[in-house]
């Protein structure tokens, strides 16, 4: 991988983030209603509203507000949460760690199950197993999270047996087993949709690779089927799957909002809904920006991994 390629991709990410800060700011300031009145309630005195507007810099022109906000971000200061009266960095930071743990669990679980399943479907193409996996995948894609979540709750968290807790959160550094029990259902909800997506991608890519000339050549060299699949077919099928996985991180960020709300998981999703309900502008801005940054960085990561897997891309 050339340094120029990396540099170009990194610059592109920075540009995207710069545009995102502007978009986030524009959308949040354009929200209807006066934030100060929302916060103080409709019976607030005009003096109190004016004082709060001054504190929030709402009295300044938009570009001044924007610049001071960006300057703050560059110094690591996202302001203070209006509702919680805590620094935004602290509030968002805690929620981010919780969400990341949920997202990472879902992603890792999905990756290690979906890739072999997709490869298996490709190898057994046209058989009952392929059809079964396909059907399962379509169901997974077709059902929205709140349906899968409800189904999972009914089957695995029913009070009669209470296999898993129906919601809540335990930090892994306090009680690892507790964390594990709590994370299973929300991670499974997120994972089901992704699993369908990724395994289908691996399947179609793998089928294509398996019918390529170089796989035929490898077999005609007398290589063992194990080596043909593991060394020749799988790595070449993974690059597109990895691109999909990184795009799925974007989906995950959306899915997390619903799933965290259902399972009472104190992450970014719940925080965002809370902040939106309470018009907590600095928190809304920080969370949105963070989600955008995660998305952009995961795309960058996927480009790098693809380049490592496929030597032809390195020089592109």
């Amino acid at each position: 991988m050339t340094r120029a390629y990396l540099l170009r991709r990194l610059l592109a990410v920075l540009l995207v983030l710069a545009i995102v800060t502007f978009a986030v700011f524009a959308i949040t300031t354009m929200l209807p209603g006066n934030a100060a009145i929302m916060i103080l309630g409709e019976y607030a005195t005009p003096e109190a509203v004016a004082a709060l507007e001054k504190q929030l810099h709402l009295d300044q022109p938009w570009y001044a507000q924007y610049l001071s906000w960006v300057a703050g971000i560059l110094h690591g200061d996202f302001g203070t949460s209006l509702r919680l009266s805590l620094p935004v960095t602290q509030v968002v930071g805690e929620a981010f760690v919780n969400s990341a743990m949920l997202g990472a669990t879902a992603l890792v679980a999905v990756t290690i199950t979906a890739i072999p399943l997709g490869a298996l479907a490709a190898l057994k193409r046209g058989t009952g197993m392929d059809l079964g996996l396909g059907l399962f995948s379509y169901l997974g894609t077709a059902l929205p999270e709140f349906v899968t979540a409800t189904l999972l709750l009914v089957f695995f968290a029913a009070p009669q047996h209470g296999l898993f807790p129906a919601g809540g959160f335990v930090a892994p550094w306090e009680d690892l087993a507790g964390f594990g029990a709590h994370v299973v259902l929300p991670a499974a909800t997120l994972g089901l949709v992704l699993m369908a997506h990724i395994s289908r991608q691996v399947r179609s890519e793998m089928s294509e690779v398996l019918s390529s000339d170089y796989i035929r050549a490898a077999r005609l060299k007398g290589l063992t089927e194990k080596r043909v699949i593991r060394r020749h077919a799988l790595p070449n099928s993974l690059a597109p799957a990895i691109a999909v996985i990184s795009l799925d991180i974007g989906y995950l960020l959306g899915g997390i909002i619903v799933v965290e709300e259902i399972f009472a998981w104190p992450g970014l999703g719940r925080l965002l809904i809370y902040a939106l309900e309470n018009r907590d502008l600095p928190v809304i801005q920080a969370v949105t920006l963070l989600l955008a940054a995660v998305y952009a960085l995961s795309n960058l990561l996927s480009d790098i991994v693809i380049a490592l897997l496929d030597p032809r891309v390195r020089y592109a």
Partner: protein
């Protein structure tokens, strides 16, 4: 088993032919029932000999290769016969037994090295893995052995080549890697499936020489599959001609060439272009210039205006010159051949002339100067038409043939609307297709027929210049000859000039009045047809001409 019987077995095996195919038949199960691919094939390759299997597309020659390698698709049905490797029946072997034989006792060299090598694995590993699998070498031993194998194929710095990925090697280098892999375990039999078809003329020549050299060194037996009877005559001892799944003729290659007995073989040999037999139209009586190319250049991936502003020194270096400073003229009514290897810029020139490519320099059409692609007007486009290499790609699969040919008629108002239908029938007749074809779709036609439709479309506009970009390259030899004759006839009838772009030097010497040779985007040589062999030709032209076998039956007979 006693020592004596074992010795007898060894002696018996030594006497047995490397490969014997006895009364072998193969069919494919399709929606329309069983389709026969090979019928009662008998073929024997004695030890140390090379047998050629020649046939056109669909003759079943590739099926034969897959049968021998025991690598048939699931819908293949073997309906009898035997395939024996040194006397050992392969049809009885399990897939696992075959995996032990493939790559070790018999191996294969494929048509296109750029698709038969795994793009993400270093070339060294792709050779070494065979040695590790079949000879139980360690990784280090296998890589060392791979270096030796590669050195044998004439690669100058094998150690460095082992570290490269396929995309970092040229076509010839990749084919050498494939050949090194095939020879790595010193197999008894190697199947060559059109190993030079995807390569350039000069590279193909080198690969053929390499094959002959390795054959002498290793005494391997080989089955050489090709569509090109002339090429096969240079590498094989015996040849079998396959037509529609049946071997119609077999014998020593010189004899088959000199005295073909089967009508199909005669037709095949007759279709091989003979450069000494000119079949083109008479040269125009007095040379009049139709189009002049004046300093034509095409810069692919040229830096943008902004890039030029910041890095003016890169303006020349960045990107790739598809053609640079090309000057020549096309005369009225002539056939001008443009030859060169892939990447030489010959198709770039075709696209410039057809107005499909931005260019620098000027085109001059009968005194009128055109300064760039955007300056090309409708009148020019009507006067200059193009026929592409692949009719599959250039004919819209969802349109009927009639619609396709009607398009230029309507676009340029060649004939009044009510006469379009009649004109389509005339045009189809001109390219020797029945008028009913107007109601068919392209997929209902054969490759040669489709190319005729593409030619009819080009001539529909009544052009003064038709550009033929490798129009015969995708066709079988016999079809190719018919298409070339058709073009000549159309030229005779319409008086249109033709720029015929090809890599086939024998074919062009049959057709063209003048020949332009391109190399790395530059025009390196330009001469009248009779001067092709004269002393003052460019060295590159000479190399190209020397690389191509000229196979008149008499000469082939002398070789034998």
């Amino acid at each position: 088993m006693t020592l004596q019987t074992m010795t007898q077995d060894v002696i018996a095996a030594a006497e047995k032919p490397a490969l014997s195919i006895i009364n072998y038949s193969l069919s494919y199960k399709t929606a329309n029932g069983l389709i026969s691919a090979l019928k009662n094939i008998d073929l024997t390759i004695p030890k140390g000999k090379t047998v050629g299997l020649v046939g056109e597309s669909g003759s079943g020659k590739s099926s034969m290769a897959w049968s021998v390698m025991r690598y048939l698709p699931p819908n293949a049905v073997e309906t009898g016969g035997a395939i024996r490797l040194a006397g050992e029946e392969l049809l009885d072997h399990t897939p696992w037994q075959m995996a032990d034989i493939r790559g070790k006792r018999m191996s294969m060299v494929f048509q296109d090295p750029s698709t038969s090598l795994n793009p993400t694995i270093r070339l060294g590993e792709q050779i070494a893995e065979v040695l590790m699998r079949h000879r139980g070498l360690t990784k280090a031993q296998a890589w060392a052995e791979a270096e030796v194998a590669l050195a044998r194929t004439g690669i100058t710095r094998p150690k460095e080549m082992l570290q490269r990925f396929p995309h970092e090697a040229s076509g010839g280098e990749k084919q050498r890697v494939v050949i090194a892999t095939a020879f790595a375990c010193e197999p008894e039999l190697i199947i060559f499936d059109e190993p030079t078809t995807a390569l350039d003329i000069l590279t193909a020549r080198q690969i053929l020489d390499l094959f002959n050299q390795l054959r002498d060194e290793t005494n391997v037996s080989a089955l050489y599959i090709s569509h090109d009877l002339g090429l096969v005559s240079r590498v094989v001892d015996e040849v079998s001609v396959l037509h529609k799944g049946v071997i119609v003729e077999r014998g020593l290659v010189g004899e088959v060439f000199a005295k073909p007995s089967a009508p199909y073989t005669k037709q095949l040999i007759g279709a091989v272009p003979n450069p000494d037999r000119f079949i083109g139209v008479d040269a125009p009586a007095e040379p009049k210039t139709l189009i002049k190319l004046d300093g034509i250049g095409v810069h692919y991936g040229a830096p943008s205006k902004i890039q030029k502003m910041f890095w003016p020194e890169d303006a020349e270096k960045v990107g790739f010159w598809g053609a640079k400073d090309v000057n020549f003229e096309v005369r009225k009514g002539e056939l001008l051949g443009v030859v060169g290897e892939s990447g030489s810029g010959k198709s770039t020139i075709a696209k410039v002339l057809a107005g499909l490519q931005d260019f620098q320099g000027n085109l001059e059409i009968e005194g009128k100067t055109v300064t760039g692609r955007k300056a090309i007007d409708r009148a020019y486009r009507r006067r200059v038409q193009i026929v592409f290499q692949h009719p599959d790609a250039s004919l819209n699969p969802r349109q009927k043939i009639g619609t396709i040919i009607a398009r230029p008629l309507k676009l340029y108002g060649v004939v009044p609307r009510e006469k379009i239908k009649a004109r389509i029938a005339e045009l189809l007749e001109m390219v020797r297709l029945p008028a009913e074809y107007a109601d068919r779709y392209p997929h209902q036609l054969s490759g040669g027929e489709k190319q005729r439709v593409a030619i009819a479309r080009a001539f529909a506009a009544e052009p003064e210049l038709v550009i033929c970009d490798e129009v015969t390259a995708a066709l079988d030899v016999s079809v190719q000859a018919a298409v070339a004759e058709l073009l000549v006839k159309l030229q005779k009838d319409t008086g249109a000039a033709c720029v015929f772009i090809t890599h086939d030097l024998n074919l062009i010497r049959q057709l063209a009045h003048r020949i332009a040779v391109m190399h790395h985007g530059k025009l390196v040589d330009f001469f009248d047809r009779p001067d092709a062999r004269s002393e003052d030709r460019d060295p590159y032209t000479k190399a190209l001409l020397d690389a191509v076998p000229v196979h008149t039956p008499v000469e082939a007979f002398e070789i034998a």
